[in-house]
Amino acid sequence: MRDLKKHLWSSLMMAITILVMPFTLFAAEEPVKFVAITAIVEHPALDNVRKGVEDELKDNGYIVGKNLKLQYQSAQGSSANASQIAKQFVSNKPDVIVGIGTPSSQALAATTKTIPIVFTAVTDPVIAKLTPSWEASKTNVTGVSDALSLDTQIDMMMKIKPDLKTIGYIYSPGEVNSTIVLKQLEEILTPKGIKIIAAPAQRTAEIPTAAKSLKGKVDLIYTTTDNNVVSAYESLVKVANESKIPLVASDPDSAPRGAIAALGMSYYNLGRQAGKIVIRILNGEAPGDIPPQVGNTTELVINTKAAERQGVVLSDEILSMAAEVVDK
C-alpha cells in the first residue's frame, strides 16, 4: 500500500512537470500576424527556403517581435514528429502555415481545411494531391513548386558534352521529388536517343559506391535536388574528379562545391517567392484564389576549376551564359 502511494506520488510529479512546463510560457506579447513554418528535415537547401521566406516578410515590413510572430519547427526527418508539429501548428491557429517538403505539407493539409497553407520545395503538388490542379485550388492550400524545366537542363548538358549518349543519374529512391524527375527524364531523353542509367543510393554513405558503378558507362553524371545527394555532394565530387566524369547539378549551390555547371533555382529565391504568397494571404487574399506557382528564377553557375579536374573544355558560349563563374 505504501509502495503504491509513493508510486502514485512520483507519477503525479511527472505528470505535473509535463503539463505545467508549456503553460507557464504562454505569456504576454500581442503580435499582429502569426506565421508558422515547418520543414521535414534540416539541410542547406531547405534552410535557404526558410531564410527566403523570413527575409521576404522582413523586407515587407513584417518585423519579428513588432508586428510578426514567427514559429519554426523541423521534424528532424521523423514523420511522427511532422504529424505532431502539424497538430501543434493547427492548434496554435497561425494566420499562415508554410510547409517545406512533401511529407510536411501533406501532414498539414491532412490536419486543417481552414488555416491557409503555403507549400514550397514540393516538385509536383498535383501528384502529391496537395492541389487538384495547377489552377487556383479554391481550398486553403497554395504554394510554389521547385519543378525545373528539364528541357533547359538537357540543353545545358548538350552544351557541356555535345556528343552526349548516356547520362548517369544518382538519386535516393526514398525521395519522391527525385523519382518524379527520373521518370520525366526518361520520357524526354528516350526519343532523343539518349540513355539514362539510374544509380540509386539509399543513404549518403552509398553515394560514392553508386558513383563508382557509373565509371566508364556514362558521359556525365546529373544530379537533381535530392536531399541525400546534395548533403553529401563532396563525396560525389571526389569520385567524379578521380574518374573524370563531368558532374552537372540542378542546384546552384552545388557548383562551388565541385560540379562543373549547375542550372537551377536558388532555393533562397524559392523561399522569397513563397514569402510573397504568404504576404498576399496576410493582406487578405484567399489562398484558394492564388494558383500554385513554379519557381521562376533559375540561374547558371559554372565552376571552371571543376571542369578542368573532370576533363571538360567549356565553350565560350556556355561561359557567357553563366550568371556566375567560380574557380576553386
Binding site: L19, L25, S83, Q84
Partner: protein
C-alpha cells in the same frame, strides 16, 4: 500546451502504443531483438494506403495492412526458427527487404489507377482526400478532427489491449511467455517453441503494421520515411512505461506500455511547444537531445523520488 495540441499528441501516442505493444511481445515476452518494426510499420501503411487509393473499404484496407505486418513477422520468425539465422540478423534482413517492397507497393497504386504507364516504385503515396476510417465522422471543415481521431484510435488501442491480455492468458499465450522465458524448458514441456515464436512475431508485427495503417490515414499520405526510428520509439515507450509504472501482472504491464508511449509523445510535445527553450536559443535541431534528456529523467526520477521518500520515512 493547448487542449487541441494535447489531443493531437495523444493521438500519435496512442497510434504508437500499438507499436509499443507489438515491440513488447517480441522484445520482452519472446526475448527476440526484432528490428522488423522499421519495415513492418511502413508496410502496414503502404498496403493500407494502396487499398485506400484504389478505393477499397477503409476498414478492410486497415485489416489488409495489419495482415501484411503479420506475414512480415512470420518471415522473420521463420528465418530464425527454420533457417537458423541469428535473431537480430533475420530481422535486419526482413527490414531491408521491406524497404524495397514498400517502395514498390507505394508505386503500385497510381499504376493500377492508370495514372502512370510505368510500374515503378515511389516513396510517397498521397492520401489527401482519400476515404479513410475517420472521414465519415469528420465534418467538412475538419473542426472536430482533433477530437474524433484520438477517440477512434483509443478504441483501437483498448480493443487490442483487451484481446492481447485475453490471448496471453490462454494456453497458447502462456506457451508464448514460457518460450520467451526459457525456451529449453518450454520445449521439454512439450511446447512447440518454433511455431510459437513464429506466431508471436506475427502478432507483434501485425500490431505494429496496424499502427502504420492508422498513422497513414491521419497523415495525408504514406511516405517511405515513416518507418525511420519506429523501433527506437517503441523501445523508449516500453522502458518509460516500465520505469514509471513497474508491475507484475500482465494486464498492468501492457497498460504501462501504452502509457509509456503516450508519455513519450508528451515529452516531444513539451520539446516542441516550449517557447522558453526557443527564446534562449534552443531550437528543433535539439529536439532529439531534449527528448533523450527527458527520457533519462523519466527513467531516473521515479527511483530517486522513491529513494528520497524511503529515506524520509526512515528518519521519521
Amino acid at each position: 500546451m493547448s487542449f487541441e495540441f494535447f489531443l493531437g499528441s495523444l493521438e500519435i501516442g496512442l497510434i504508437y502504443a500499438l507499436v509499443s505493444l507489438g515491440v513488447y511481445i517480441s522484445f520482452r515476452l519472446l526475448d527476440f531483438p526484432d528490428l522488423t518494426a522499421d519495415g513492418s510499420f511502413p508496410l502496414g501503411g503502404a498496403i493500407c494506403g494502396l487499398c485506400l487509393y484504389i478505393g477499397v473499404d477503409p476498414w478492410i484496407a486497415t485489416i489488409f495492412g495489419t495482415l501484411g505486418g503479420c506475414i512480415a513477422g512470420m518471415i522473420t520468425g521463420w528465418l530464425y526458427v527454420k533457417l537458423n539465422i541469428l535473431q537480430l540478423l533475420s530481422s535486419i534482413i526482413v527490414m531491408i527487404a521491406l524497404y524495397s517492397v514498400n517502395l514498390r507497393i507505394l508505386g503500385l497504386a497510381p499504376y493500377i489507377m492508370g495514372e502512370t504507364s510505368r510500374m515503378a516504385g515511389s516513396p510517397n503515396l498521397p492520401l489527401l482526400g482519400a476515404e479513410t476510417i475517420f472521414s465519415p465522422f469528420i465534418n467538412a471543415s475538419y473542426t472536430n478532427q482533433y477530437i474524433v481521431q484520438p477517440m477512434m484510435v483509443l478504441v483501437f488501442v483498448i480493443v487490442c489491449w483487451l484481446l492481447l491480455n485475453r490471448f496471453l492468458s490462454t494456453q497458447k499465450g502462456l506457451a508464448l511467455r514460457a518460450t520467451g522465458t526459457n525456451a529449453r524448458m518450454a520445449k521439454s514441456q512439450g511446447i512447440p517453441t518454433g511455431s510459437t515464436i513464429i506466431l508471436g512475431m506475427a502478432i507483434s508485427n501485425g500490431l505494429i503494421a496496424l499502427g502504420g495503417a492508422l498513422f497513414v490515414q491521419t497523415q495525408g499520405g504514406a511516405d517511405i520515411t515513416i518507418g525511420v526510428g519506429t523501433i527506437v520509439i517503441g523501445l523508449a515507450s516500453i522502458i518509460i512505461g516500465e520505469s514509471i509504472f513497474p508491475a507484475k501482472r500482465m494486464w498492468v504491464i501492457t497498460l504501462s506500455v501504452i502509457f509509456g508511449s503516450i508519455i513519450y509523445r508528451l515529452f516531444i510535445a513539451v520539446a516542441l511547444g516550449n517557447e522558453l527553450l526557443q527564446n534562449i536559443g534552443i531550437g528543433t535541431e535539439d529536439l532529439n537531445l531534449i527528448t533523450a534528456i527527458l527520457v533519462v529523467l523519466a527513467l531516473v526520477l521515479p527511483k530517486q523520488v522513491k529513494k528520497l521518500l524511503y529515506k524520509r520515512g526512515k528518519a521519521v
